[in-house]
């Protein structure tokens, strides 16, 4: 998340992707703060999607086949489970581009530094298909879609940008001297 350019293939989803689709509630029993739990969560990323969707994770490697998710409105609605952004991050997803995010999911992405939530005003799930390539240029605050020659502005994060740039809540708190030890 600290890299300034994120480039990769997209997995395209629609509006209202809820946390049960990102990680079904029963897997909340997995402890994300252990290395085994983290890895297992990665292999379960998007396990709640309907069976008709193309595979998200490579069964053998346990890693996501695409590094960027495209959503529509209200991505990550539902539960507060941090297991959801952690599962995405652990699977190798670097960013989610959507028109809007559910608040707690958005906040968890920022606090953990696991996945970058990118808000843009345009709906992309009609124009992009799974497997297309996009680039996120953080310095310029742009999303680039080379094969459509398109450039889209990223919505500004406001004060929270400081936490994103520090790489998460704890790094930020250390940087500004809120936590002094360790």
């Amino acid at each position: 998340m600290t890299s300034k350019v994120i480039k990769g293939k997209v997995y395209v989803l629609k509006d209202n992707i809820d946390t049960d689709q990102i990680l079904t509630a029963e897997f909340m029993k997995i402890n994300p703060s252990t290395p085994e739990g983290y890895k297992e969560l990665g292999s379960l990323a998007m396990c709640g999607l309907p069976e008709t969707c193309p595979p998200f994770v490579n069964k053998e490697t346990g890693k996501a086949l695409h590094q960027i998710i495209i959503g529509g409105e209200n991505f990550g609605c539902g539960s507060s489970r941090e297991h959801a952004p952690v599962a995405l991050g652990a699977s190798g997803v670097q960013a989610v581009i959507a028109q809007s995010f559910a608040r707690i999911f958005f906040r968890n992405c920022i606090s953990t530094g696991e996945v970058l939530p990118v808000e843009i005003s345009e709906r992309l799930y009609d124009t992009l298909k799974t497997g297309d390539e996009v680039e996120i240029l953080l310095d310029d605050q742009l999303v680039k879609i080379p094969h459509l020659s398109k450039e889209l502005k990223i919505q500004h994060l406001g004060d929270l940008v400081n936490i994103v740039e520090a790489g998460g809540l704890f790094s930020y708190a250390r940087k500004i001297g809120k936590i002094k030890y360790l």
Binding site: E26, K29, P32, S33, S80, E82, I104, T112, L160, L169
Partner: protein
């Protein structure tokens, strides 16, 4: 000046005169709640960031409540409870409602209220999205993830963005077969699941002022389904009375300024309202009862932080008295106290418990979240097959109660109980004497 209820509490907690929408403020937290699926993650991050031997910020302000995956043979779920036990022992928690002990309660949001942890004017955060339930007490309460919770655990503080507020006013006279659940479904129909994203919802109006504590909790509970950051109301008389019995710590009651600024105002006259049902697969897919009437059902479920309180079981019992359910019906009291109450509370000469059991409802004596969020395969009431279920819970996303193909309908306890008798969705009006 021109501050909403949420702004006033955040200003006090961040030691400021007033706060503006969108401002990020370092907020002092009064209570942190963590439950079993999230405590291990929170503890893990806490130790990683503050050190193996670190002490939590306050042993009286971190409330640990196992409630989600507890009566199960699942090894991982049980390991999580053991981790909580070990941590409580290490740290000396005052409030750890451990399962298998007389201290055990049940669903965290109801336990927080019953044990007196919700206080007006305070800030409460919890690792569960329905932490917003505590807003019924005039508490600024929000759900957070493990990282934020671990930060609070070490420091007692959290940076929060001040939300703009949507004001929702309910006036008029509520029909006797309607409940708070119908009101919040109406709000969901109008705002949709994203209509209140990043916002606070502040409830007011004569209906809210006259409501019981438990019904007020139902309203705040489901603001998260509209995407809201928190739901909040000024404590009314019944809330203050409730607090008198359960809380001994002093608190400050805030009210919004007369000229407070709202992002939006929704005003309802409830007088002619009809019962509502949220159809699959979203809580905002709301239909008026006559449009849903006749949809055939396989099972019914009464429980959760939304619909598993004494009021909810009393409503169900009023419908079920002298009748029989025609489909499999499961009831899970949210907490031990609710279980005790349904045994001791009478309607006529029978207890609520007796009425439920006699009508054929399968009542669990093990209080917890149970099938509200599916849980391990051996969970009581879990929807393991693609069945049509009517439920007093709060979410009906695909797979929420177990099977991904199951159809879940959300409704009030009146509507759920009446539909359980009929075997299809009906208007509870015709089932109440």
């Amino acid at each position: 000046m021109n501050q909403t209820l949420s702004q006033k509490i955040l200003a006090k907690a961040s030691n400021k005169k007033n706060v503006g929408n969108g401002e990020v403020v370092w907020t002092k937290v009064d209570i942190l709640m963590t439950h079993d699926p999230c405590s291990p993650g929170v503890i893990g991050i806490f130790k990683r960031e503050f050190g193996e031997k670190a002490k939590i910020w306050d042993t009286e302000r971190h409330v640990m409540i196992p409630d989600h995956f507890i009566f199960t043979a699942d090894a991982k779920a049980n390991a999580n409870i053991r981790l909580m036990r070990q941590f409580a022992k290490e740290q000396g928690h005052k409030y750890f409602y451990d399962v298998g002990t007389t201290n055990y309660k049940g669903v965290c949001h109801i336990a927080l209220a019953q044990e007196g942890h919700n206080r007006p004017g305070e800030v409460l955060v919890g690792t569960d999205s329905h932490t917003v339930t505590s807003g019924a007490f005039g508490t600024f309460s929000i759900g957070v993830g493990n990282t934020d919770a671990a930060f609070v655990l070490g420091t007692g503080e959290i940076p929060l963005k001040v939300p703009p507020t949507i004001k929702v006013i309910f006036n008029g006279e509520l029909n006797s077969h309607l409940m708070a659940k119908d009101l919040i479904l109406q709000v969901l129909a109008d705002l949709t699941t994203k209509g209140a994203t990043y916002c606070a919802i502040e409830f007011s109006g004569e209906v809210i002022d006259n409501m019981t504590v438990e019904e007020r909790m139902t309203l705040c509970n489901m603001v998260i389904e509209c995407g809201a950051k928190n739901g909040i109301m000024v404590p009314n008389d019944s809330t203050l009375k409730y607090l008198e019995q359960r809380n001994s710590i002093s608190f400050e009651v805030f009210t919004p300024d007369k000229d407070a600024e709202y992002a939006k105002v929704l005003e309802y006259d409830v007088t002619n309202m009809k019962p509502l049902v949220a159809k699959p697969h979203s809580p905002d897919n709301v239909a008026v009862i006559n449009e849903a009437q006749g949809i055939s059902l396989d099972r019914a479920y009464i429980g959760s932080c939304t619909g598993g309180k004494l009021t909810d079981f009393m409503a169900a019992a009023k419908v079920l008295d002298g009748k029989k359910v025609s489909i499999n019906t499961f009831a899970v009291p949210a907490t031990r106290e609710v279980l005790d109450e349904i045994i001791t509370t009478k309607i006529g000469d029978k207890s609520v418990y007796e009425i439920l059991v006699k009508s054929g409802v399968n009542v669990s004596a093990e209080t917890s979240c149970a099938a509200c969020c599916g849980g391990p395969a051996d969970t009581f009431g879990r929807v393991n097959e693609p069945k049509a279920t009517i439920s007093t819970t709060n979410r009906n996303f695909p797979g929420r109660m177990g099977n991904k193909k199951a159809h879940i309908y959300l409704a009030s306890p009146y509507t759920v109980a009446a539909s359980a008798v009929a075997g299809h969705i009906v208007d509870p009006k015709d089932y109440l004497n």
